[in-house]
């Protein structure tokens, strides 16, 4: 079946197997490999994207459910190849090791900071509770969120 979705502001379409997930559509049909395919059961958050503005796991959305809808992915956060402030903060804080979980985390952090510019530590943990990192132990990821939040508020 043909699925037509507005991805990062641009209408894209592809013929997919009717049982395909949004994640498969993004990666295999559209070549957007930023959203990662890991657990395929909504546990790890590495496929986090926005569907009509809501943070979701791309693996748990049927591609057909995104037909004629709006999707934003990690690729939509970078502007002309320049890193987003959240991505910069992840690099500087050492919040990236193997990097596989990073796009999902960056999307979840962007979702949080768009809603709440100064989240409490508990709010940050809650917002990231659907993303799993098996390398960093999370401390540096939390540092990166604080760094990004401070910079995005205009502080140093």
């Amino acid at each position: 079946m043909v699925v037509r979705t507005r991805v990062n502001g641009e209408w894209r379409e592809a013929d997919v197997w009717p049982g395909a997930s949004l994640l498969t559509f993004l990666r295999d049909s559209l070549g957007l490999y930023g959203s990662k395919n890991a657990c395929e059961q909504g546990e790890c958050g590495s496929c986090s994207v926005w569907l009509d503005g809501a943070l979701v796991c791309g693996c748990l959305v049927l591609a057909a459910q995104a037909h004629e809808r709006e999707v934003r992915t990690i690729e939509g956060l970078t502007d002309a190849g320049r890193l987003n402030p959240i991505q910069e903060a992840f690099v500087e804080a050492g919040a990236v090791q193997c990097g596989f979980c990073t796009p999902g985390f960056v999307v979840a952090v962007a979702d949080l900071l768009e809603k709440e510019a100064s989240p409490s530590p508990a709010t940050v943990r809650e917002a990231l509770s659907g993303n799993i990192c098996r390398c960093t132990g999370y401390a540096k990821i939390l540092d990166a969120v604080n760094l990004a939040a401070t910079r995005m508020r205009g502080g140093t």
Partner: protein
Amino acid sequence: MKAERPEAIPLAGGTDLMVELNFGRLRPAALMDLTRVTELTLHRQENGHVFLGAGVTYAAIVNELAGFTPLVQASRSVGSPQIRHRGTVGGNLGTASPAGDALPVLAAYDADVVLRSQARGERSLPWQAFLTGPKKTAIAPDELIIGARWSRVSGPGSFSKIGTRNAMVIAVAGLCLVIDEDHRRVKVALGSVGPTIIRATQAEEQIASAMSNSGAWQDRSITIPDPVIEQFAELVASAARPLDDVRGTAAYRRHGCRVLARRALRWTLEERRLPTWL
């Protein structure tokens, strides 16, 4: 549409069904996307009744139904932000896992499940008639779940569950306790400790009559003695019908019910002394 294609599997938030598809365990002849049916995403309150559309997500409950404390507490405990944006109450009902977090709340509210078919129109089934066993329901092949409906309960309540961490937890045991001041009843429902949701009716009767005998229904300042609370917790634990499985042993689950019951009763009794729920 469901009448024309009764073999079509309804798909809402996909948090259960998509896993089956992704892992190749299910290859349905057809899928039916319910997320475009706006009617299902609505909730309303009228004449003391609450109707919660099958497509209302857990995120929507947390944002829009703040007055329903146990329902909000259960919804907040579901998965993660990503899962709460997609998962729906109708999905919990349709999947009918004994671990569905919304189900003990609907059971404690004595909710009806509203079903509709083209041929026979709408019908309501009490939750216990709808949930017939683990992952089994009384739905007919040409029917869809429209939502859940219950009479609004006046009184405090709570939902709590046991799991290995604070997010992404399939409950090892879950409990909803609701105090119904108007009918002078305490209602307790258990999840994840039996083939389906269980109401601890003996415990409900024990605590309601203890509150009658001590005059606590009329006078909220009267405290319930600890031995009465312990007996209540024991009766709740004995209502469980748990199994050993990968998430926990039967003995641990029964013990968990005891602890959850004791705490939930203490919290709600404390809250009715400070009636913020009014």
